[in-house]
Amino acid sequence: MRRPGRAGLLYVGGLVLLVVGAFPLFWMLSTSLKPSAEIFATPPRLVPAHPTLENFDRLFADTAFATFFRNSALVSLATVALTLTVSALGAYGLTRFSFAGRDKVAGLILVTYMFAPVMIIIPFYILVKQLGIVNTRLALVLSYTTFCLPFCLWLLRAFFESIPLELEEAALVDGAGRGGAVWHVVLPLALPGLIAAAIFTFILAYNDFLFALVLITSEELKTLPVGVNDLFNATIVDWGMIMAAGVMITVPAVLFFAAVQRYLVQGWGAGGVKG
């Protein structure tokens, strides 16, 4: 039996949640489209009266935003590719071959997930410096891959385990090599897991601030978070331009996320996203 007012309560609650979740982002978008006179007007207007792209123009003309953007994209995508490859190989090894100490190794891999980056950033920096790769994109890719690996390995291990061995053996009997069996049978069946791992990795790499702050020193290698934070160093903070930067950073993240969201729920269920 429905009590009167229950539906009303739900919609009020839903509306509050909608405002909390989406309004700040709407406000960012609205500000980014306002000419500066409107940005600082009192009372502020919800929707720009004279929408303009001048903030975006300044962002691309006066700052190295395009470079930061390119660096972020390169680093994030390379991280996704490397993480998926390494963790798929590892997960396959953990599920398709039996050897002494296998489960111990899997457990130890999970333990490494406990270490927050900030707790090892100092030796990490010294190590990267020793390796001679400080201030390179490679250093970032390796850092992010390492920190995504435990989660992705465990996620893919769970997916690979659920794929019956018989399917793979049938492909082998049919004359496919082991590589062929993996490529045509195992990977397609594990696709939701691979996608969830890819999203998790992309979000982590695209979001990272600490490694980028410590490992990258030259302007032309900076990624978005550090590059955009530098915009605050100006004597007069250009809010319109900063909001435009926020919009530009958000778009790929939200698009990427929206495209594959349904897979993410599975991934989240399997282990949670760190952060």
């Binding site: 739900l10 609650g13 839903g14 949640l17 909390v20 979740g21 989406a22 700040p24 982002l25 406000w27 960012m28 600082f40 502020p44 963790s87 190989l89 590892g90 090894g93 953990l94 398709r96 071959f97 002494a100 190794v105 891999i109 490494t112 270490f115 927050a116 900030v118 707790m119 090892i120 100092i122 030796p123 990490f124 920096y125 010294i126 190590l127 891959t145 390492t146 690996l149 390995l153 061995l165 979000i203 990272d208 601030f209 600490l210 978005l224 978070p225 934070n229 605050f232 809010w239 926020g246 958000t250 993240a253 939200v254 996320f257 969201q261 729920v265 989240w268 949670g272 996203v273 760190k274």
Partner: protein, 291 residues
Amino acid sequence: MRKNAVAGWLLLAPSLLLLGGLVVFPVLYNAWLSLFDKHAFLPVQRFVGLGHYVYFAHDEEFWNSFGHGLVYAGATLVLQLAVGIPAALLLNEGFRGRNLLRGVVLFPYVIPTIVAVILWKWLLNDSYGLVNHLLVAAGVTRAPVAWLGKDWIMASLVITSVWQFFPFVVVTYLARLQTIPPELYEAATVDGAGAWRRFRHVTLPQTRSVLFVIVLLRSIWMFTKFDTVWLMAGDGGVSRYIRTLPVYAYARSFTYLQAGMGAALAVIMFVMLIVATAVYFRVFERQEALS
């Protein structure tokens, strides 16, 4: 499954190489480093034993940072639960637009930290921010509040962080809510239980273990949070009113260039987390045994 140790190890080799070289080795090296006075860039180092640890025991800045960390992790945890659990309960009900709303709620968690921070810095801007405008217009305050000044910066940091991370609570809690058998609610309703009693006697017991995990993970992650805290106030100015241990460790290492000191702070944080986690598990086990 075939017995083939070589192939198994070979496939695992890249993972083990990365994790061993870039996590396990740094962790051990970090502990070793904490016993030295070491410059962050120059290859100068001098053995000081437990000197850094003794130093921090009497270091006012250390205890301030520890206190800030407790306030920050505690306040954000409580508020994330206070916002996240009702939101999850709401999104577990059936109504039009629910699936869209489930997606929207995830926004704050999906956008990068830098965006969350610039967004709230703008909303909370003292002269032109929307929040101050609304507060003054509604007559809540007569003068604009200096949200990013020393008195309010911690509150602003907490607001920003809760907004950014409450979706994690929503998603995790909601996932568990969806697996509660409807029969339990039906039985409770037949017994005449109202909404509150159904929550108290069905939902809460069913979600105890997921709450255990949420509280554990979120406390650890908030206590070790670096980027949101650092981005909020940077290195100078009012940053000392929100400086937590991770930020202090960063400052020691990369601002004062005292890598050994920074390493010692990392070890201290690590030990704190281990101890807190162990205590937490104990308490939970005891409660489990009682109920």
